[in-house]
Amino acid sequence: MTKMALFLGCIVPNRYPGIEKATDLCLERLGIDCIELEDASCCPAPGVFRSFDKATWLTIAARNISLAEKLDRDILTICNGCYGSLNEANAQLKEQPQLRKKVNEHLRKIGFEFRGQIRIRHIIEFLSEEPGPEQIREMVTNPLSLRVAVHYGCHMIKPSEHRIIDSVERPHFFDELVEATGAESVDYADKNECCGAGGGVRSGLHEKSLEMAGYKLSIIDEAGIDCIVDACPFCHMQFDSGQAELNDLKGTEYRIPVLHYTQLLGLAFGYTPQDLGIDLNITVDENLTHLWS
């Protein structure tokens, strides 16, 4: 199995540390050789920073990538935004020598160099490939009987260039990993639609961004599910904190638990919601614990 370095990003360690804990527990249980990528910064986030200045975006991304190159490990991301940024920057810098030269001129000032030697992996894509859903199913100790709304999020699958995915319009690799825990992935309308957070919209046009989240939440709520499972802390924040904001603003009564895939898998490995920080979400369903006990 490939040796990995875990890239934390911003939102996981600084807003949803439960996802960091759940990731540590799951990787350990799965026997994956993964260490934390120390000294890393923001990926940087594709929405604001790539919009602002491509050279800055590439240079900061290249520094993060070269931290892993020094360790001779591939980067493992647990966020669609980090994956989108680092994967795209990695591909562009590998393919375009002129661009790489320019970025390396900046990196030289801190004694770094982008060499183009590693791959960027998203944890869902990584777990699908190695060990794969069948092996995960065999390792599950506490099969879950949950109905789940799977949310892929945009940058796990798009743009399809430079990504390993089964289908852009009807992907199923994430659903398979969810179902490996015993849970049922429930189909719903506009499943692949954006949560509304990306591209700087959540920060720049907050109310409109919430409206987009509200649209998806309304469909998910009608599907009669126990929880949402995502693989991106920004989508996660948009759905978790967005529910509370919408309830305040629009008088809705959403109370849908939102779990990162590593938290779902952690439950299937027998860890409690408290071990995995699920109880530290903004939207906490009091029935949560009893659902999977």
Binding site: P13, C42, C154, V201, S203
Partner: protein, 163 residues
Amino acid sequence: MDSELEEILKNENIDVLKCMQCGVCSASCPSGRHMTLNVRKLVRRASNKEFDFDEDDLWMCTTCYTCQERCPRKIRIADAILAIRSKAVSEGFIKSQHRDVARMLIETGHAVPINQENIDKREKLGLGRLPATVASRDQALDDVKKLLVSCGFDMLVENDSNE
């Protein structure tokens, strides 16, 4: 087209002139459902000389990339929007909220930095008080700051069209 914008799109290998105005992009756009963003028209304005860089629509795109995936002319539309945004930013059209996020990176190396509430959550989970990122590594944060200065990002962020 604004010659500088034309240059930027050309450097990115994006040819908006291939657009036949079929509208698949707009029909696929989630922001178009909830906001005034009309991607088809945006691409047309980018092809003509009608672009106002101060328009809000430019910042309604969530970069979901559905338009780009579905474009029958294979125009990298979302990438074009990002390129056009950078031109707007270079002219000082920056939303105050985005400027705040950018300043956060300059100051802390994270777009979303740690706060006390989450230090408490980390401790409760048995994680290190601070993550092993630039949040707890002075030398690493210093390197990131040096790179941001080297790229001129600090100057760019403080550039304001109203001044």
